[in-house]
Symmetry: C2
Subunit: 172 residues, 2 copies
């Protein structure tokens, strides 16, 4: 918390990894602020029948982070068991609306924290050159690991923006 507004070194991590984690930490801080004190009914609220609930977006944020752990550190896609756990949250939409509901805030926060702790463990095992490793990604283009993890937190921020809109509507 003391370094919340610094993108800088973090003890125990390589310099660039520390900066990446600094950005992820701030993004997460704001996500948690945006969902503070919401009850299960509010977490399930839908702005309209085609939209995603705040709960589903929270689980999506955890699911995306988990999926990128698997793709960048294990270089594989999710297996069937993992897809059973994370699939609805990854895909959102119809399946997400059906399967992700009735949970309290603690359920979502626990998932976010568990996944994040594993990310931090994995990050402590690599050096900065790991960020430069490339592979074919979207639109037949090369992407590096740095981009992939940038995308993890930029997707979180994107949905946090949506969560703020839904919350504003909920509490107005």
């Amino acid at each position: 918390m003391e370094n919340l507004l610094r993108i800088t070194d973090i003890k125990g991590y390589a310099p660039q990894i520390g900066r990446l984690i600094s950005m992820m930490n701030y993004a997460r801080f704001t996500t948690l602020e945006a969902v503070k004190d919401l009850n299960p009914e509010q977490l399930d609220f839908l702005l309209d029948p085609q939209s995603n609930s705040i709960g589903a977006l929270l689980l999506h944020i955890a699911a995306v982070e988990y999926a990128y752990q698997v793709s960048t550190f294990e270089k594989r896609t999710l297996n069937e068991e993992e897809l059973a756990t994370w699939g609805p949250a990854l895909d959102l939409g119809e399946e997400g609306r059906e399967k992700i509901k009735g949970n309290d805030l603690a359920f979502y926060l626990t998932n976010l924290e568990k996944v994040r702790n594993r990310t931090l463990e994995l990050f402590s095992s690599v050096q900065d050159d790991w960020l430069a490793i490339e592979e074919e990604f979207w639109w037949d283009k090369q992407a590096n690991h740095y981009f992939m993890w940038f995308h993890v937190f930029e997707d979180e921020i994107n949905h946090r923006g949506q969560i703020r809109m839904i919350r504003k509507k909920l509490l107005s």
Copy 2:
């Protein structure tokens, strides 16, 4: 575009500055994708009377970037003339809804581009140690320049998430 999915060096900029610009470039690419082909009426559309239009959010993105140019490179706050230009877009809300409307997409894109070009010029004048310069910022905490510019693009991504929601509703 060739480096769209790489967070890496950019010719003409210091290494860390290049990585920061890489992230800003990708964020901007997705913002532009999210507003493609919208007409003035769509840019003015309000999800509800308390919300912001896509047009206002686009001008907000340009305004925030301009404000951080002034605060981090010139170490001052906006003067009266600048506030007359950017104030409604910075503050959004009531004043934004009143004053930011009736513009076509080109108006917003021109503003975004002009401000971005100035950012790139300013970034080419500093080295990586500039990112570590700190000052008192939110909540009596120290923030460094890297954080402040991270915030510029994380605010853009936040609003891009909202723009996507509004666009989905508009086109559904």
